[in-house]
């Protein structure tokens, strides 16, 4: 039986839901149990190992590694800073300062993830809401190209489908309708039962067009195999929603449905209904990075700072400054990777280009990419060993309070130290 001794909950940095009701049970100075968190969160919170910094694969003390990193970055003509989605907002701001200091290109995973949608939300081009609004008001949920059971395991229990809320008092089976639109059956689509609409890859835009026709009373037409009756039924549910929410997953973002199509669809839908969109950003503070860079530059990612002739900074932005294009075209001459692992998340044809340039890694965990890196600086695991702020999937700011004190330096301070050396 659990005894509630702690009256303070911890925040889980396992994904961008930033669940704020985690009960930690300690055994001495170690975390024994992380209750209420999902398995992914538990692994993030508990599996914290003490690892050493490295130069050329050899263990060194952290100061040496920081010094070496500063030297490489100082001598670089076209450095690239990439990652930061698993860093606190404070660390992200320091990294942007560093990028300005050394005239670097800066980009994050949103560059090949939810960047376009977050950008549209920050520009008020897509209507959105908070997760608390979802819990309190949402009666129709649409998981579009999203599988929260695998990507954001507690979304449905904490906010979307199952909890009671202010205007949703009667329980999920009476009060809410959940719909899945996806190219494959998933652990989330099965929860939606008859409201699972399987579509062929890259026909998301076509379905949006068909639904828009149906909204205005026209006969919906699509080139793939789906009963017209089903599209009409779906369009009816969407139109009648009192408070609808579309959770836009990577499936939608990767379906080549342009952001304009998504915007137009939501606008069209909202002439009849009241729908909101929340992007299913993955890493716990990807949205924070987008917000921080947007505040500084007006762009959510893919930015290059260039010193002009009068000594001021010009801000450049575009596809050519995306991490994938930069590496693929062998543009950078030094790469600083913070809290992310290209060999896990990006095509290897691109990640392998890192072997040809000096690469520095700041990470609390053992990554694949560090095997080919020149410098590895070990940082504290943010949210576990050090605190700060982060922006949740819905734009809400959440404070992370460290759970254990390992004495390890957090990435914010590591970046500051690098700047001092430069």
């Amino acid at each position: 039986m659990v005894i509630f001794l702690r009256n303070k909950y911890s925040v889980c940095p396992g994904c961008s839901l930033l669940c704020d009701d985690i009960e930690i049970e300690m055994k001495g100075t170690e975390i024994d149990k992380a209750n209420n968190a999902c398995i992914k969160g538990v692994s993030r919170i508990k599996d914290t190992k003490k690892l050493e910094s490295k130069i050329d694969g050899n263990e060194v003390n952290q100061d040496e590694a920081i010094f070496k990193a500063a030297e490489l970055l100082q001598n670089a003509n076209n450095p690239l800073i990439f990652g930061l989605d698993n860093s606190t907002t404070e660390a992200q701001l320091e990294a942007i300062k560093l990028a300005k200091l050394i005239s670097a290109t800066i980009d994050d995973n949103s560059s090949f993830c939810q960047g376009p949608i977050v950008n549209a939300i920050l520009k008020n081009e897509l209507k959105t809401c908070t997760l608390d609004d979802v819990r309190d008001y949402a009666d129709v949920l649409v998981f579009w190209g999203a599988d929260p059971s695998n990507s954001h395991p507690r979304l449905n229990s904490k906010y979307a489908y199952y909890p009671r809320g202010k205007e949703r008092q009667r329980g999920w089976d009476e009060d809410r309708t959940a719909i899945a639109i996806d190219v494959r059956e998933s652990s989330s689509s099965v929860l939606c039962k008859d409201n699972f609409y399987q579509i062929p890859p890259r026909s998301d835009g076509e379905l949006m067009t068909a639904l828009s026709s149906a909204f205005s009373g026209k006969m919906p037409k699509v080139s793939f195999d789906i009963e017209t009756q089903r599209i009409l039924k779906l369009s009816n549910i969407l139109k009648k929603a009192k408070y609808g929410v579309i959770f836009a997953g990577l499936g939608l973002t990767y379906s080549q449905t342009g952001i304009e199509t998504i915007k137009n669809f939501l606008t069209e839908l909202n002439t009849y209904s009241n729908f909101h969109l929340i992007p299913m950003v993955g890493h716990y503070n990807m949205r924070g990075f987008n917000q921080a860079l947007y505040n500084e530059t007006g762009y959510v990612n893919r930015v290059k700072f260039v010193k002009n002739e009068s000594g001021n900074l010009d801000i450049k932005h575009g596809l050519q400054y995306s991490v994938l294009e930069q590496l693929n075209n062998k543009e950078p001459d030094t790469v600083l990777i913070i809290g992310t692992d290209p060999f896990t998340s990006m095509p290897h044809s691109v990640a392998k280009k890192l072997k040809e340039v000096p690469t520095i890694i700041i990470d609390p965990c053992e990554t694949l990419t560090e095997k080919i890196a020149d410098v590895v600086i070990r940082s504290a695991k943010s949210g576990i060993e050090c605190g700060g702020n982060a922006i949740r999937i819905d734009g809400t700011c959440v404070e992370l309070v460290p759970i254990i004190n390992s004495g390890c330096l957090c990435d914010e301070h590591i970046i500051c130290k690098i700047m001092e050396e430069i």
């Binding site: 396992g14 999902c38 695998n150 890259r202 990767y254 994938l324 294009e325 896990t344 095509p347």
Partner: protein, 136 residues
């Protein structure tokens, strides 16, 4: 007959691959990406029952999956689903899938994570590509 078969190259079959997220695999990644647990949950490809039969492949055997940018050896699995998905295979997003995901040629800058053209064939005696080989 068996001896003879050894010298014949195994037939290749075309397949389109969709990558996906798996919470057990993500959880294993948090613990260690160099573990057997992570490999066993990552280095897999899932096909429709009918495709497996048609292609003469065996569930649980290793297969070589090849795209325009690379190839990997992974274990073949089947999905127990009532909804057929012939012609489409699923792979968890991992170093193994990223070894064969190409960049797209459109202007989005997003790789072909959700629509990857590849071929698949029986791997004979080849073992699963090691994570070290993927970085090398």
């Amino acid at each position: 007959m068996d001896d003879f078969g050894k010298y014949l190259s195994k037939p290749e079959h075309e397949i389109r691959i969709i990558t996906y997220r798996d919470v057990f695999q993500s959880s294993a990644a948090e613990k260690s990406k160099f573990s057997d647990e992570y490999k066993n949950l990552s280095a897999i490809i899932q096909l429709d029952k009918k495709d497996i039969k048609k292609m003469g492949l065996k569930i649980g055997h290793n297969v070589i999956v090849k795209s325009t940018v690379g190839e990997v050896t992974v274990q073949l699995k089947v999905i127990e689903s009532d909804i057929p998905h012939q012609g489409f295979a699923y792979m968890p997003n991992s170093p193994w899938s990223n070894a064969i995901v190409p960049l797209s040629d459109d202007r989005s800058g997003v790789p072909e994570y959700k629509m990857l053209h590849a071929t698949i064939k029986d791997a004979k005696n080849e073992s699963i590509t090691l994570i070290e080989e993927l970085i090398a």
